[in-house]
C-alpha cells in the first residue's frame, strides 16, 4: 500500500513539473475567431484616411451587427462624405465553410437595392487601407498557422503566429499576428504582399471590455509601401441590445438610419 501511495505521489509531482501543453498556431487563431463580441453590436465608425502629405479624408458610418446561429449579419449606413450620404450596405456572412457572403448595396441616386458580388474581397473599402477581407472574419481553416514565438507588446504577453493562405491566388503571401494571451485579441498584424515584401501593418491602439466583451475601439492600418494610413475608430458601442432581425432587411437598406 505504501508502495502504491509513493508511486502516485511521484506521478503527481512529475505531472505538475512538466510544462503545460503548448497551444498550436491553429488553436490560437481559432480562439481569436471564436472570441465572442456579443450577440449584437451597434456602433459609430469613423475612418480617417491620411496620405503621405498628411491630408485627411473622413468617412463616417453607422453600423449594426448581429450574430445568429449560422451567420453574421451586418448593415452599414454611410453618413459622410456628402456624396455618399444615405448609401447603405448589407452583408450576410455564413459560418458554413466555402459559402460566399451575400451582399447588397442601396444607392439613393438609383433608389434601388442591388445585389453585388462578394468576389471583390481584395478591393479596398471606401478608399481606405482595409480591404473587405481585412474587415471580415477569415475562417481559420483558410490558412495554415505556425506559432513562431511569444513576445511582449505594450505590456501584454502575446503569441506570435504566422499564417500562410492555402489559396495560391490570395492577395497576401502571409500574415504575422500578435495575439494577446488570455484575451485573444490581435494587437498587431503584419501583411506581406505576393512578393513576400512587407505591405502594411495593423496596430490596435485602444480596446476595452464593454458589457463583458473585449472590443477593439481604435486601430490603425499603415500601408508601408504607399505611406498611407487609415485610423478606424468605434464610438457609442452598444452590445446585446437585442437588435431585431428586421434591421437587416431591404426595408432598412432603403429607409436608412
Amino acid at each position: 500500500m505504501k508502495k502504491i501511495t509513493l508511486i502516485l505521489l511521484l506521478l503527481i509531482i512529475v505531472v505538475s513539473i512538466l510544462p503545460a501543453k503548448e497551444l498550436t498556431g491553429l488553436q490560437i487563431i481559432q480562439k481569436v475567431y471564436n472570441r465572442s463580441t456579443g450577440n449584437d453590436q451597434t456602433a459609430d465608425l469613423t475612418m480617417s484616411l491620411i496620405n503621405s502629405r498628411g491630408d485627411e479624408r473622413i468617412r463616417e458610418i453607422k453600423q449594426f451587427l448581429k450574430d445568429t446561429n449560422d451567420m453574421e449579419k451586418k448593415i452599414m449606413f454611410f453618413t459622410t462624405p456628402a456624396d455618399v450620404y444615405n448609401t447603405s450596405f448589407m452583408n450576410w456572412s455564413y459560418d458554413e465553410d466555402g459559402k460566399d457572403d451575400d451582399q447588397w448595396i442601396y444607392l439613393p441616386a438609383l433608389k434601388r437595392v442591388k445585389r453585388i458580388s462578394s468576389d471583390s474581397k481584395s478591393d479596398y473599402f471606401m478608399g481606405s487601407d482595409f480591404t473587405y477581407d481585412d474587415l471580415g472574419d477569415r475562417q481559420p481553416t483558410a490558412d495554415t498557422h505556425k506559432l513562431l514565438r511569444e513576445e511582449e507588446i505594450d505590456g501584454e504577453m502575446c503569441f506570435v503566429v504566422e499564417s500562410i493562405p492555402r489559396e495560391e491566388e490570395y492577395m497576401y503571401s502571409k500574415t504575422i499576428a500578435w495575439i494577446v494571451k488570455d484575451k485573444w485579441i490581435g494587437m498587431k498584424k503584419e501583411f506581406y504582399d505576393e512578393d513576400d515584401d512587407h505591405l502594411k501593418t495593423l496596430s490596435v491602439k485602444k480596446y476595452k471590455k464593454i458589457d463583458g466583451f473585449w472590443i477593439i475601439l481604435q486601430s490603425e492600418m499603415h500601408n508601408i509601401q504607399k505611406e498611407h494610413k487609415t485610423i478606424m475608430k468605434l464610438e457609442n458601442v452598444k452590445i446585446n441590445t437585442g437588435i431585431s432581425d428586421n434591421k437587416f432587411t431591404e426595408r432598412m437598406l432603403k429607409r436608412g438610419i
Binding site: L49, P81, A82, A109, R115, I116, S117, M126, G127, E250
Partner: protein, 409 residues
C-alpha cells in the same frame, strides 16, 4: 420671374423657422457641353439641387427642389422633384406625396420600372435620378421578414416629358407630308376612374432576389393616331392629321438577381396586354393596331482584371405580328458598362454604351470623374452617337463633349 423669386424667399423663410431640426443636403453643379460637329454649346446649365429631410419619431418629411438656370436661354426653372411624407408603422410604411418610384433590376433600361414616367427633354443623357419624374401618389409597403408587398395608387396620370420642338433631342417624325397635330385627346381627365394602380411583391434572400409586379396604367407615351385624306384623282395624300392619345395598359412582369459563381445574373421581363403600334395597313383608318407585347432582358455583372463590368441583352417582341406594323417584330439591344477606380476611389474611369442591333446604331458614353476633395467632383465625358437611323443613330449629329463640376453638401 418675380413669382419664382418670391417663392424662393418664402421657402427659405419657412425652412428657416424649422432649421434646427431639418437636415439640408444636395449639390450645386455647373454643366457645359458642346457639339463636336460645329462647336455650338448644347448645354450651359447651373443646377442647385436642394434636399430637406425632417423626421420625428415615426414620421418623416422629404422635399427635393431643383433650381435649373439655363445659360443659353437665360431661363430659371424651379421644379419640385419630390415632396412627400413618410409614416412608419410596425409592419408597414406609408409614403404620401410627390415621389419617384423605381422598380426592377435593369440598368439604364425601363421594363418593369414603369411607375414613375420619364423626362426625356435631354434624351437619356441626364443621371437616372433626374430622368424620373416624381408623381403624386400613395405608396404602402407591407413587410413580412424579407418579403415586401407594395401597393401604389397614382390618382393623376403624368405622361413622358418629350423634348420641345426646338431641341436637338426632338425625335424625327417619319411622315410623308407635314401633318397637323390635334391634341384634343391627349389629356387624361383628373378623376378617380383615371387613376393608375400598381402592385409588387418582392423577396430578398440568400439564394435569389426577385420581384413580381402588375400594373393597370396609362401608356406614358402617346399613340399617334394618323388620319390621312387621299385625293381621289391623284391618289396622293392630301392631308395628314395626327391625334396623340394615351391608352390604358395592363402589364405583368417579374425580375430577379442571383449570384452564380463570380457573376451576378439578372433578368427582367414584362408582358403588356394590348399596346398600340403604328401600321401601314390601308384598311385601318387611324393607322394604329393593338398587339400584345413582350419586353425582357438578361444581364451579367462581374469583375475582370479589377474592372467592374456589366452587360445586358434586351429584346422587345410584338406578338401576333404582321408585316404592316411599322416597328420590327423583334428589336434587340445590348448595353455594356465598365468602370474602374484609382487613387483610393478618387479617380474613376467609366464607360457605358447602348448598342442597337436592328439599326446598327449605338450611344457610347465614356466618362472620367475626379474628387478634388470629399464631395467636390469634376467630370469630363463624351456622348457619341453612331449610325444613321434608329433610336441612337437618329442623333448622329449630336455627338458632344461635356464638363461638369459638382459640389455635394
Amino acid at each position: 420671374m418675380k413669382y419664382k423669386i418670391v417663392t424662393l424667399l418664402f421657402l427659405l423663410a419657412g425652412i428657416g423657422t424649422l432649421n434646427a431640426q431639418i437636415i439640408h443636403r444636395g449639390f450645386v453643379r455647373t454643366h457645359l457641353g458642346g457639339l463636336i460637329e460645329n462647336g455650338e454649346y448644347s448645354v450651359l446649365k447651373n443646377t442647385f439641387d436642394w434636399r430637406l429631410e425632417y423626421s420625428k419619431g415615426d414620421v418623416g418629411l422629404f422635399v427635393n427642389t431643383v433650381f435649373d438656370h439655363n445659360g443659353l436661354t437665360k431661363d430659371l426653372d424651379i421644379n419640385l422633384r419630390q415632396a412627400y411624407f413618410d409614416i412608419y408603422f410596425d409592419n408597414f410604411d406609408l409614403r404620401i406625396g410627390k415621389q419617384q418610384i423605381i422598380w426592377g433590376k435593369a440598368q439604364g433600361v425601363f421594363i418593369t420600372d414603369i411607375v414613375s414616367p420619364k423626362n426625356l427633354s435631354d434624351f437619356l443623357l441626364p443621371d437616372f435620378e433626374e430622368i424620373r419624374i416624381g408623381i403624386t401618389s400613395v405608396k404602402v409597403d407591407y413587410y413580412m421578414g424579407n418579403n415586401t408587398l407594395e401597393l401604389v395608387w397614382v390618382p393623376l396620370f403624368s405622361p413622358t416629358i418629350m423634348p420641345n420642338q426646338n431641341s436637338i433631342w426632338y425625335p424625327k417624325m417619319d411622315f410623308p407630308i407635314i401633318p397637323t397635330f390635334d391634341y384634343s385627346k391627349k389629356e387624361i381627365d383628373a378623376n378617380l376612374d383615371n387613376g393608375e394602380y400598381f402592385i409588387k411583391y418582392s423577396l430578398l434572400s440568400s439564394k435569389i432576389d426577385f420581384e413580381l409586379m402588375s400594373g393597370y396604367m396609362w401608356d406614358d407615351d402617346p399613340t399617334m393616331h394618323v388620319y390621312k385624306t387621299i385625293n381621289p384623282q391623284t391618289m396622293q395624300i392630301d392631308s395628314l392629321a395626327v391625334v396623340p392619345q394615351h391608352h390604358r395598359l395592363g402589364l405583368g412582369g417579374a425580375s430577379f438577381s442571383t449570384t452564380v459563381g463570380r457573376f451576378i445574373l439578372r433578368g427582367e421581363g414584362a408582358f403588356y396586354d394590348g399596346k398600340y403600334f403604328n401600321t401601314e395597313d390601308p384598311q385601318i383608318a387611324d393607322a394604329v393596331i393593338e398587339k400584345d407585347y413582350l419586353h425582357y432582358l438578361v444581364g451579367l455583372d462581374f469583375s475582370l482584371f479589377g474592372i467592374n463590368m456589366s452587360t445586358q441583352f434586351i429584346q422587345q417582341a410584338i406578338l401576333d405580328y404582321n408585316d404592316q406594323i411599322k416597328n420590327d417584330e423583334y428589336e434587340n439591344t445590348m448595353t455594356y458598362m465598365a468602370y474602374k477606380t484609382f487613387l483610393r476611389e478618387t479617380l474613376k474611369f467609366e464607360f457605358f454604351s447602348y448598342i442597337g442591333f436592328n439599326s446598327n446604331d449605338a450611344l457610347i458614353r465614356p466618362k472620367i470623374s475626379y474628387d478634388l476633395s470629399d464631395g467636390f467632383e469634376v467630370i469630363f465625358g463624351a456622348n457619341i452617337f453612331v449610325g444613321d437611323e434608329g433610336k441612337f443613330g437618329n442623333y448622329d449629329d449630336n455627338d458632344m463633349l461635356y464638363a461638369k463640376i459638382k459640389y455635394s453638401f
